[in-house]
Symmetry: C2
Subunit: 447 residues, 2 copies
């Protein structure tokens, strides 16, 4: 199976744990059977691997998620296809299709399945993906969608209506439940949603199946190219529009399959709480009188909740949220108003967390966690000096071409303008103090 997993989203609805660089799909909030915490993306990939051991997975995303994806999902059979700039799902899928064609050598007659990286689903979902692939392979429809049987009239999902089965198509074969799509409706009101459901409409799961050549043909209608490098170079010429709008809703030969199992788009604290395996995660004490409370604490310091009812509490490096569960759906405008620095970020070499920020912008103190084998780019800063103090682990720093061994207690001064990098032999932790007239994230030059 050839899968394109779409990984996007700025994730403000799960603030303070998610932010501009840490989307909801990378939050490690789910416990697997071994008791380890995994993210929604890790959970889906683990489920995919179990269902389709030989699947080839290409993750379509932006540069800002590349490090998190490689850290969490990197491994054999997984490729990452990064957009040069954020546009929308149609350009991202077109770029990934070109990547499969020119970089992976996939034939134009091969089926490709596109799905989001973060639905919360059970095993039925993967059986439905297999049915969908079989339907694409059979070739009666150019584009096949997956629709989930709605369980309530949600105003947050898109809907489509399956039409009657074409004459002679019903049967016991793999594509036996294939139906043409009569219409699409984007996020309706709850009243409209209830009416659609009464008509037999399904939730649009954002899952699309097609043969590779079909999408290259659609792409050709916008750009006369089909290799990854060419699409990448001319990416800005593709329209900033969704796959639903640019392809699915315009295609006449579009069909769908119906899927009955568990399917949730875990996009708000309220829906996340529904799928958490336990009410508290991290250093949390739920005291007397708590009812229907979910609490997540990413800080080392304890979170004590007493006598709360129907509430979400979340604490992390970016801040603290205390919200009634229902109210938590309306978080976005408040978070948009916060204008805060990202305090935690996954990097290709590990992660950094801001410990202290000078309000005048003259200094910042940061904790760096570097994985064993992790290596920073060779880079320098124009307007700030840095002081590294090694807390644990061993590695080597290179400053202006000169290598220095690093061990616990080592202190290294990096003056502004000095090109430097770090290579960790074991997992390392460092304190980095940034000092200058104006300490800014943007002040970095890479070589």
């Amino acid at each position: 199976m050839n899968l394109i997993l779409l990984s996007g989203g700025s994730g403000k609805r799960l603030w303070p744990l998610s932010n501009d660089v840490r989307s909801k799909q990378f939050l490690k909030l789910f416990q697997n059977e071994a008791g380890e915490y995994e993210s929604m993306a890790q959970r889906l990939l683990r489920q995919l691997r179990a269902a389709f051991p030989d699947a080839s997975v290409t993750i379509a995303t932006g540069e800002n998620q590349k490090s998190a994806i490689l850290n969490q999902l990197g491994g054999p059979g997984v490729s990452v296809c990064c957009e040069p700039q954020r546009r929308d799902t149609f350009p991202a899928i077109a770029l990934a299709a070109a990547y499969l064609y020119s970089e992976q050598g996939l034939g134009e007659d091969e089926p490709v399945i596109v799905c989001p990286i973060d639905p919360f689903v059970g095993p039925d979902y993967f059986a439905a993906l297999a049915r969908l692939e079989a339907a694409v392979r059979q070739g009666t429809a150019k584009l096949v969608l997956m629709g989930a049987a709605p369980t309530y009239p949600s105003a947050k999902y898109g809907y489509f209506l399956p039409g009657p089965a074409p004459a002679g198509a019903a049967g016991a074969d793999a594509a036996g439940d294939l139906r043409p799509v009569a219409w699409f409706r984007e996020k309706p009101s709850e009243e409209q949603a209830a009416a659609y459901i009464a008509q037999g409409a399904l939730w649009n799961c954002g899952v699309f199946g097609f043969k590779l050549g079909y999408l290259l043909g659609v792409l050709a209608g916008y750009l006369p190219v089909k290799t990854y490098r060419e699409v990448y170079r001319r990416y800005a010429e593709l329209p900033k529009t969704s796959f639903d709008y640019a392809v699915a809703e315009r295609e006449t030969a579009v069909s769908c399959i119906r899927f009955e199992g568990e399917w949730k788009d875990v996009g708000t604290w309220n829906t996340l709480a529904e799928v958490m395996s336990q009410p508290a995660l991290g250093n949390v004490v739920l005291g007397g009188g708590c009812e229907n409370v979910h609490a997540v604490n990413e800080l080392e310091q304890p979170l004590l909740v007493m006598g709360a009812k129907n509430m979400i509490v979340a604490a992390g490096p970016d801040g603290v949220l205390v919200s009634d569960k229902h109210q938590s759906s309306y978080i976005k405008p408040y978070v948009d108003g916060l204008h805060q620095r990202v305090m935690f970020e996954e990097k290709s070499w590990g992660s950094f967390r801001v410990l202290l920020e000078d309000p005048r912008g003259h200094s910042m103190t940061v904790h760096l966690a570097v994985r064993a084998g992790g290596q920073m780019s060779y880079h320098c800063h124009q307007n700030r000096d840095e002081v590294w103090t090694v807390l644990s682990g061993r590695g080597r720093a290179t400053v202006e071409g000169r290598e220095t061994p690093l061990c616990p207690g080592a202190v290294l001064r990096l003056p502004a303008g000095a090109r430097h990098t770090l290579q960790a032999d074991t997992a390392m932790e460092l304190i980095e103090v940034q000092l200058g007239r104006a300490v800014e994230d943007a002040d970095v030059e890479q070589f």
Copy 2:
């Protein structure tokens, strides 16, 4: 007026803002008329200064509060009398009385007023203190107490019952409302309290007035000494008992005055919320649907509260509390169970805050804020190295007798065993990284 202010308490009931070294009276939660935040102790001292500009104030406390007291309350007319060890209010008051006698040269016939450092009171309280002092000076009673007119049957306060006025004592003079005390009752049930109030009992405000010689006489019953140095040296021989129990409840010639104004012992989040001038303090956003919420955030990162009702939210370096207001009175056993390190502490030279703690105890990263003119003791650590990186300000470090100037960006390594100190010429901020086999607060030797 000669005042002894009692400053004690471990303050777990206002966790996470209060802790073993930061009692509730030092939390800057009150806004004065100039819009500046002040603590309960600062508020009371400001009110005292306004009412009695020439008052001589002696603060009776323990070593662990000395730095906070000097930082917040230090100045002319204020002395600090530290117990060599924590006992109870009788020994602390006896030591302070000996201090007034031998160190301040106060005559044995002079009135002394003892009161807690942190009641939440209005101007009437100070008028009552003046009446109480006049009554002591008049000399009809050896010991004069202040009782507040109860506003509800509290189970948290002590009560005493004023008896009928002695024949011929009623009049318009300063001690005209002086009454003998018929009995004392410690923290009754709410039902008992209601019955006491119906009889005319008053809340025991913990305010005592006497002539200095009277208390030195009581002290002589336990120890044949009356100078500060002698009492300090033999402090462990004094009984670990309260002033109420050791003196007030045994004295036959004890009288009281009645006080009608505002008086609150702000000892829980619930009572603190009642006297906060605004619902939110610090970086707090109260979103839609909040009702009767009080939120205090000492962290730099934002606290967002949505749709909460009748709740207290408090966030600080030691942790986060989210509690129903009523439930917050039952916090103590939960906090007792947390066993956590103190993350923020006031020091004689400024303050320190733990930014990062290695769970294995091999390192700790600390932010030091040193006030202009602040100077650490000359000290060393046996089992840890330290690295200082100066973020801002100017000063001098002395390491093994050798002085080094410090300015922003300066880095100083302090190996284990090296005696060192810091003197700040301007306000300074530093990052201190502690590294060693076992990083512990107790590892400090002072010279």
